[in-house]
């Protein structure tokens, strides 16, 4: 029998017992009790796993704060959202919530009191989560350590703080509905689609937002991450982060370890790997990869053209090559060949020649380590150069890298480098 279904049935029974109050109901027999405890445990375990995949902790934990106690600030053009405490603490968390309340939040984007929630909470994606999974996540959340932590209210700017506007937004952009398997596709593919579209809520970042904050662009077609100075590349373009041409094993490796021969996770995605994707079961990682690999190629977005190689440009590139030799060549090689899986090759590297260049600029400015994961616990890293090189020098060296060894892309300006210094993540 389907364990989840059984668990759901038992939960309903438990609910009935509670409702009937202390006077009625004879004590359940011992065996049923044991079986129920085992099942409850299993469901909580499953809920813990699913909460990882949905990366609830990622947003509901402040830097260095208690897990799930909220307080993380998400700055967006609409104001600063401060994530709530979702530990089972009664006064400050969701201790009073029921499974039904939780389902309403995840599936319908409504708070316990019926207020519509702002889509900074990605219910536009989470709505695809099944009831069974939602209940399991809730069961898990009820077992985490309750933390008494009052978080300040979100500061939402006018006119977005005007609630009726949110209802209008929801009417236009939000359609609740659990993921429906596509007939004709394999069970694995459908599982992958469910994970990517629902729990993983990949589209929350990997798509262009319209001025009202709705994912207006093509699904998974890439976009600037709202409130974060990173570009989430398209998962449907072979020029960006599409994986159609990749062997399945390599996609799995990148998702679960954070590095592969031709790609390294950095910025917000390193955090996603660290907190969520590295915990994927073998089967789920494979399902996700199968789905991502199957995404049809989108029409390339217009990009800034590579410069004509006149004398002025050549001079700049020559200066850039000198900086490269001094600071980069040691790890990335004289021909940008790198050490695949350790130091990313720069020749033919999609992330390096991507438009906009913000991610590459940030990598040079801030450096960083790929996530330390079970599959790659002691990663090699990139030094930060913000302390060593000036904006103009970073612009020169990046312009060179983007136009050397067969690479061709627009030049990077000092102004772009300066602008890329903003943003925490």
């Amino acid at each position: 029998m389907n364990l989840g279904l059984l668990a759901a049935v038992l939960t309903c029974l438990a609910g009935a017992v509670l409702l009937s109050g202390p006077v009625g109901a004879a004590p359940p027999e011992k065996e049923t009790k044991v079986a129920k405890t085992v099942l409850t445990e299993q469901r909580r375990g499953r809920g813990a796993y699913l909460a990882r995949l949905a990366n609830c902790m990622g947003c509901h934990t402040a830097q260095g704060g208690h897990s799930y106690a909220g307080g993380r600030r998400l700055s967006t053009p609409f104001g600063t959202f401060i994530t709530p405490n979702i530990t089972p603490h009664e006064a400050t968390g969701i201790g009073y919530w029921s499974e039904e309340d939780f389902w309403k939040a995840v599936h319908e984007g409504k708070s316990r009191d019926g207020r519509p929630l702002y889509p900074a909470f990605p219910y536009t994606e989470y709505t695809k989560i099944t009831r069974e999974d939602s209940d399991a996540i809730f069961a898990h959340l009820q077992t985490v350590e309750p933390v008494a932590q009052h978080n300040p209210p979100s500061q939402i700017n006018f006119p977005y703080n005007f609630q009726p506007l949110l209802s209008v937004w929801r009417a236009i952009y939000f359609k609740p509905g659990v993921y429906q398997p596509e007939p004709g596709k394999s069970a694995e593919w459908n599982r992958g689609a469910y994970l990517v579209q629902g729990l993983g809520h990949c589209n929350a970042c990997h798509s262009e937002r319209n001025p009202l904050g709705a994912a207006g662009g093509e699904t998974l077609g890439g976009g600037q991450i709202m409130g974060s100075n990173w570009y989430a590349p398209s998962l449907t373009s072979s020029l960006e982060a599409g994986s159609t041409g990749w062997p399945l094993e390599e996609i799995i490796q990148l998702l679960t370890t954070g590095v592969s021969a031709r790609a390294t996770m950095s910025g917000p995605m390193a955090e996603v790997v660290s907190q969520s994707l590295q915990h994927l079961s073998k089967e789920d990682a494979r399902a996700m990869a199968i789905y991502l690999k199957s995404l049809p190629e989108s029409i390339p977005r217009p990009s800034t053209a590579a410069p004509a190689l006149n004398e002025e440009v050549r001079n700049g590139l020559l200066q850039g090559s000198k900086i490269y030799k001094k600071h980069c060549e040691d790890c990335h090689g004289a021909s940008g060949q790198g050490a695949p899986g350790i130091y990313p090759p720069l020749a033919g590297n999609r992330a390096v020649i991507m438009d906009p260049p913000v991610n590459t600029i940030r990598s040079v400015l801030n450096g960083g380590y790929p996530p330390s994961t079970t599959g790659n616990p002691r990663p090699f890293g990139m030094p930060p150069f913000a302390q060593v090189l000036r904006d103009g020098e970073i612009a020169l060296v990046l312009s060179y890298i983007r136009n050397a060894w067969g690479n061709r892309a627009s030049l990077v300006t000092a102004a772009q480098v300066d602008k890329s210094r903003e943003g925490i993540h």
């Binding site: 990366n55 990622g58 830097q63 260095g64 929350a204 970042c205 990997h206 991450i225 989430a232 590349p233 960006e240 990148l254 021969a261 031709r262 390294t264 996770m265 950095s266 910025g267 917000p268 995605m269 390193a270 996603v272 660290s274 790890c331 990335h332 090689g333 940008g336 060949q337 050490a339 695949p340 350790i342 130091y343 990313p344 090759p345 720069l346 020749a347 033919g348 999609r350 992330a351 390096v352 991610n359 801030n366 450096g367 960083g368 380590y369 790929p370 330390s372 616990p377 002691r378 090699f380 890293g381 930060p384 150069f385 913000a386 302390q387 060593v388 060894w405 067969g406 925490i424 993540h425």
Partner: protein, 239 residues
């Protein structure tokens, strides 16, 4: 809201020109893994662009681990370190701390500092004797009788840039270098010192040549261990 594949994708060299090139040879060592630190904390580039960065080689392991984790978690606020260490596990941070604690590097020559005789006397008094009436302990009580630190949590004070030490004193005075740390012994002490005293001590320390050794852990008095207990409590590995 937090997802973006920053795929540094690369292989398939355009036109296959470089296909035959051998990858860069990367030694499988901690030294190689710690290259990102060397840009600022290394020997040659120790000064970086603004002569600020402290040496970390040879500092006590527990101290380095506490700093690394506090940087990562935003308790000790310094953006470049927070960005560098995001998504690094406690276990790897501990390995980093052990590596730098064991690293032997020649010390830089002392800074040339002009101090008056009165300033030198003031500094030496505070460093060796403190000020009992104001509950200011002598520096040597915790930082080692040769000011080279006390294993495993208390850092040495010699061989550090003067501007770095001044900045830390400023941070301690303004509400603590470590957020949410109680008791916060250095913050309490820094608040008791006058700006003249701080300047005199910092100038004196920066002008000393580095010699001597770190003190063993058992030299720390019970009273001071209590007063600074938070640095010991926070050093536990978290799962």
């Amino acid at each position: 809201m937090m997802a973006a594949v920053i795929a540094i994708a690369g292989p398939a060299y355009a036109g296959g020109v470089n296909r035959a090139l051998a990858p860069v040879d990367v030694p499988d060592t901690m030294a190689e893994r710690m290259k990102p630190c060397v840009a600022c904390h290394g020997r040659e580039d120790r000064m970086g662009r603004d002569a600020y960065y402290p040496r970390i080689a040879g500092k006590p392991e527990g101290y380095l681990f506490n700093q690394l984790r506090n940087f990562r978690d935003g308790h000790r606020y310094y953006r470049p370190m927070a960005l560098l260490l995001a998504n690094v596990t406690d276990r790897y941070l501990l390995e980093m701390a052990a590596y730098f604690a064991a690293l032997e590097q020649p010390y830089p020559p002392p800074e040339r500092v002009v101090s008056t005789l009165a300033e030198i006397k003031l500094a030496e008094k505070l460093i060796n004797h403190g000020d009992t009436a104001r509950k200011i302990p002598a520096c040597i009580e915790c930082h080692g009788k040769e000011l080279m630190g006390t294993a495993p949590f208390v850092p040495g004070l010699l061989g550090l840039p003067r501007v770095y030490m001044s900045a830390q004193f400023g941070a301690w005075r303004n509400g603590g270098l470590m957020r949410g740390q109680t008791p916060d012994c250095m913050s309490e002490i820094a608040k008791l010192l006058t700006p003249e005293e701080t300047n005199a001590v910092v100038a004196w320390l920066a002008a000393q040549p580095v010699r001597g050794k770190m003190d063993p852990a058992d030299r720390l008095s019970i009273e001071m261990t209590k007063r600074c207990s938070s640095i010991i409590e926070q050093a536990r590995l978290r799962p």
